[in-house]
């Protein structure tokens, strides 16, 4: 347990280490590389301290709560399998760090590179040490992200960008499938802890959810490990710098899928589904990858497809579902790592030195770069499975594992295909060797190649040493590791018999191996004609299909998104209306209705007349709405009828408010209509009008039915309290007003703020209009001809001078009586606004504005603040916001009168309303004046008394 506590730190080290290269790039490239190396070395050292325990067969664990609501914990565990992979990740990591230091050119941002590399390393380390499948998912997706950054590292290359995107799309997508699979798995097992899940193999395999989970998990694993048909991304990821290819695409990331198969082997393997899907996929991938590799001229592409092939091999081995297959897989994982990383680095060296990796332009390098040649050839021979090298050993084990395997009762299918795979592997390995390093020295290399500095070849050389060492002394070198890792995979029990010796005697596997080598050599010799045939035969190109598919998907998405969100608010609203009615109906039909409890009120002729007018006006409005001015006149009728209806139905306050609001609204609309087109064109086709009519009627019908239904049913309401307490507790007899300024004064407070904001918004909008494009349009405004020439008619002016103070008086009256009778601050504010509007209409805005002493901004501000402070005043008495107080004053000879804080609050309402309306008006008028309208600055067109005065002067 003690050493287990190191695990979280181990997983964190690379992430913390990643900060250094990013932050200290100014300290120099060596420092960067050094810090990266130190971080990796530190992690490696920590891992090694845990080695003894692991080799003793212990499972190290550590657990930190993270998101218990989800069952996600930062739990880590380390067993043989994890140890094997962690060792590979950190060990190869060290080599890659060294190699990259020399490989990257001075133009490349090295700090970035090492940061990404460490991020990736940490993610990988996390995958292999996670004891919680959700945590594993976290790291899984992190590898996709960090590899995206690494592949796209050379962002100036379009292939880099494309390759990175493709890799992320495929592996990220697989990761999402994996999420689904893991969640199902966790559900079946009742825990997301791997150590728990691994004990529930029987339950999982028996579950009805086994198959979906299997498919989803395999999608994750296969995409990551580039299994057919998801293999295509891997070669394109080769646009990455070679250190990345060597690290991610041979040694570590692509093995994450294989790791997952191995990790979940105890719970998922052993079923026919597993066998047929996994083994078959692996087999196909192995053969297909090898075949393509044979005909690739790009060294890295060749290696990439060979990697695909070997990953297929590993997958197939795990798919067999036998313990022996597991051992072979584990062993081959190690071997593949050693030779393939060495090969990638060698290819990188060739590329680095010769400035090309095209086999067709290479050859004869053995004389120019002997060290590289030795390294590369040994590694390639191992890849080909030539004896004395480690590749041979695991290939033999593979062939032995498959030699007894029946596939759909066919005993030959698997062994034959496996042999073909091995044969192809021999062929491309030899091609790699001979076409690159052997043959005559050429004089047309893009750059004269020679062996690189030690720093660059040290890492591959070290790996090749391992290749030989394992090949010769497998048991001594990796025997315990294979044992402990394989044991971790199949979860204990009796180990199968296996031997890591070079000579097993004459077995079927040996024969298969011999056939492979001979056949491979033959193929290599025949490469030229075969390549001609290969290139002549058309075949689907995975990348093109992928790009095409993605392009189609993007286009489809674009088509859907743009067709649905096309900016037609008309359609949005139609959908809204239909949807609302439909959902409302569904809701209604889900419940019952008891019979009506109220008798309907009698319909008086008076009401019927009002109804007739309302209906007639509405219908008329809809028919003639194209004539905008006339539509406004008709709207007036509707407003008038609604107000009259409120009078009739005992709502005098509503009537007052409705009629005054309606008037102000119409004035605003008239002001706006001055600049707007006077006609609405008929642009909807008949069917659309019909459709809209249908929607309208359905909506109207629904609303009417709803209102009718509830009006005939009684319910007990809270407002009985308001009626009972209005006078007692609120000091007013107009209950509606007391509700507004007291019971629900907070609503009113919000309401005046709405008005205030409206004023500010309108003002701000006007200001921005006068500075924008509209400004130019306004300046070029042509005013309609044939307008009347009297702007401020004498009669209107005189009448207004008389009516204005009276209207203000009425406003004061309505304000003061609001608490006890219909009225109040809001209506009063509107009345005074209307009075001012009347004044403005009479003498013009310019003149009236000059006489204006109070500023409208201030009025709004003052109103809102007065209302707010009145409400807050209650705090002084320790009462909540808006608690009202009132009292009666008796000062003879004046009759007793009431003073209420509610009145002060109402004053705030009054001011805010007045300010907002007038600010709006002011804004609209400024637009008109900006348009260059000629203004008569005098209050009346012509004051006849002037005539007398001037006449007198004349005399």
């Amino acid at each position: 347990m003690d050493s287990g506590a190191l695990l979280p730190i181990l997983a964190l080290v690379p992430f913390i280490g990643a900060l250094f290269p990013a932050l200290m790039i100014r300290a120099g490239r060596d420092a960067c590389a050094l810090m990266t190396g130190v971080a990796t070395l530190l992690a490696f050292a920590m891992l090694m301290t845990m080695a003894p325990a692991v080799f003793r067969g212990e499972v190290l664990q550590a657990q930190i709560e993270w998101l218990p609501a989800l069952g996600l914990s930062a739990s880590f565990f380390l067993d043989g399998l994890g140890f094997l992979f962690a060792g590979m990740i950190l060990g190869v990591g060290l080599l890659i760090i060294l190699y990259a230091r020399f490989y990257l050119s001075s133009d490349d941002p090295m700090g970035q590179f090492y940061t990404y590399l460490l991020l990736f390393q940490g993610a990988m380390l996390g995958i292999v040490t996670s004891d919680n499948v959700l945590l594993l998912l976290v790291f899984w997706e992190l590898t996709s992200l960090s590899s995206f950054l690494l592949i796209g590292y050379w962002k100036h290359l379009p292939e880099g960008r494309q390759g990175a995107r493709m890799a992320l799309a495929v592996t990220g997508g697989g990761g999402l499938a994996l999420i689904g699979g893991m969640l199902i798995l966790g559900n079946i097992a009742g825990s997301y802890d791997l150590t728990v899940i691994l004990t529930k193999g029987d339950e999982i395999r028996a579950s009805e959810w086994y198959f979906p989970a299997l498919i989803l998990i395999l999608l994750g694993a296969f995409t990551k490990s580039a299994q057919f048909p998801f293999h295509f991304w891997l070669p394109h990821a080769m646009a990455a710098p070679t250190p990345v290819s060597a690290y991610l695409h041979s040694a570590t990331m692509v093995k994450a899928g294989v790791f997952l198969l191995a990790r979940l082997w105890p719970v998922l393997a052993g079923t026919p589904e597993w066998f047929y899907i996994v083994a078959t996929t692996g087999l196909i991938t192995m053969v297909l990858g090898a075949l393509i590799a044979l005909f690739k001229d790009d060294l890295k592409a060749l290696l990439a497809f060979s990697t695909v092939s070997h990953l297929g091999l590993l997958t197939m081995l795990l798919g067999l579902g036998t313990k022996f297959g597991v051992v072979a897989a584990v062993f081959h994982i190690i071997n593949h790592l050693t030779f393939k990383a060495a090969l990638f680095m060698s290819a990188g060296i060739v590329d680095h030195e010769a400035h090309t990796r095209d086999i067709k332009r290479l050859g004869g390098l053995r004389r120019l770069m002997p060290i590289t040649t030795v390294i590369a050839c040994l590694a390639a021979l191992s890849m080909a499975g030539i004896p004395l090298l480690n590749g041979f050993l695991s290939k033999e084990m593979m062939l032995e594992a498959v030699s007894q395997t029946e596939w759909w009762e066919n005993p030959l299918f698997v062994p034959v295909l496996a042999t073909v795979g091995a044969l192809l592997s021999v062929a491309y390995s030899f091609r790699f060797i001979f076409h690159t390093f052997f043959g005559p020295v050429r004089d047309d290399y893009p750059s004269k190649p020679h062996d690189p500095s030690f720093g660059m070849w040290a890492a591959p050389a070290f790996l090749v040493v391992l290749v030989i060492a394992i090949g010769l002394f497998s048991k001594a070198t990796v025997g315990p590791l294979v044992a402990v890792a394989a044991d971790a995979v199949y979860g204990g029990g009796k180990a199968p018999y296996y031997s890591l010796k070079i000579w097993h005697g004459v077995t079927p596997a040996l024969w298969m191996s011999v056939i492979a080598v001979i056949g491979g050599i033959v193929l290599m010799v025949l490469h030229k004609p075969l390549a001609w045939v290969w290139n002549a035969v058309p075949r689907p190109e995975a990348k093109v299909i992928f790009e095409w598919l993605l392009d189609r998907i993007v286009r489809l998405c674009r088509a859907i998104a743009e067709a649905t969100h096309n900016g037609s608010i008309t359609r949005y609203l139609a959908i809204f209306a239909v949807g609302t009615v439909a959902l409302g109906y569904i809701a209604w039909s889900g419940g019952g209705m008891t019979p009506a409890t109220r008798d309907p009120l009698a319909v008086t002729p008076l009401a019927a007349i009002g109804w007739l007018l309302l209906v007639g006006a509405t219908g008329y409005l809809v028919t003639i709405h194209h004539n905008r001015f006339r539509a406004l006149i008709v709207i007036s009728i509707i407003g008038l009828m609604v107000s009259a209806g409120f009078v009739y139905l005992s709502a005098p306050d509503l009537a007052l408010t409705q009629i005054s609001v309606e008037t102000v609204t119409i004035l605003l609309l008239l002001l706006a209509l001055y600049f707007l087109p006077k006609e609405t064109p008929r642009e909807s086709p008949a069917w659309l009008r019909l459709r809209d009519g249908a929607i309208a009627l359905i909506s109207g019908g629904a609303v009417a039915a709803l209102a009718y239904a509830f009006m005939l049913r009684d319910v007990s309401v809270i407002s009985d309290f308001h009626l009972a307490n209005s006078y007692k507790g609120g000091g007013g007899t107009n209950v509606v007003n007391v509700i507004l300024v007291d019971f629900r004064g907070y609503d009113t407070y919000g309401e005046i703020i709405v008005l205030g904001i409206a004023g500010l918004t309108i003002f701000a909008l006007m200001e921005s209009l006068l500075r924008g494009k509209a400004s130019a349009r306004l300046r070029n405004w042509t005013f309609a001809p044939n307008t009347s020439l009297d702007r401020h008619p004498i009669m209107m002016v005189v009448a207004t001078r008389f009516l204005f103070p009276i209207a203000c008086l009425v406003g004061v009256y309505i304000f003061l009586r609001g608490h006890n009778e219909p009225g109040g601050g809001f209506v009063a504010g509107l009345v005074v606004s209307i009075a001012l509007l009347m004044q403005y209409m009479a003498s013009g805005f310019a003149w009236a504005q000059r006489k204006q002493t109070v500023e409208y901004h201030s009025m709004i501000g003052l109103g809102v603040i007065i209302a707010g402070l009145t409400g807050a005043g209650a705090w002084l008495a320790g009462r909540p916001f808006l608690t009202s107080a009132f009292g009666y004053v008796n000062l003879p000879p004046i009759e007793e009168f009431e003073l209420a804080t509610a009145a002060l609050f109402d004053l705030g309402v009054f001011l805010a309303v007045l300010g907002a309306v007038m600010l709006t008006l002011y804004s609209l008028s400024r637009i008109a004046r900006h348009a260059g309208e000629t203004v008569n600055p005098r209050p009346m067109d012509y004051d006849p008394s002037r005539r007398m005065r001037s006449g007198q002067e004349g005399m």
């Binding site: 020439l789 009297d790 009669m795 009516l803």
Partner: protein, 120 residues
């Protein structure tokens, strides 16, 4: 409530109603807009006047409350009716009657709709 009271109130109500009807009839019967304007500006206003007097009498004689507040409405209508009539007439003239179809002003300036006011 005495018969006389009721009779007086009813009388004013009926007078109001009759003038309202006449106003409506005028709006229907008369041929052109200017002619039609005569009906509501006078008849309907007087009709409302009748109702107002009835209302005042009603509250005075039956509810026992003297109020002359209804007069405010009459005042309002009396003050505003000429103005609105004036405006509506101008709307009609501007749209339908040319300057030449009107009698001359016998003054320096033409009719207000068609001529600018004197400066100064």
């Amino acid at each position: 409530m005495t018969l006389i009271t009721e009779f007086v109130i009813s009388l004013f109500l009926i007078i109001g109603g009759i003038f309202a009807l006449i106003g409506s009839l005028g709006m229907v019967r008369l041929r052109d807009t200017m002619q039609r304007m005569h009906a509501p500006t006078k008849a309907t206003t007087l009709g409302v006047g009748g109702v107002l007097i009835a209302s005042m009498l009603y509250f005075l004689l039956i509810e026992g409350v003297f109020s002359y507040r209804e007069i405010l409405i009459v005042l309002m209508l009396l003050v505003t009716a000429p103005i609105t009539a004036n405006f509506i007439a101008k709307v009609y003239i501007q749209g339908n009657v040319g300057n030449d179809d009107l009698p001359g002003t016998d003054a320096e300036r033409g009719w207000a709709v068609y001529d600018e006011p004197p400066m100064g």
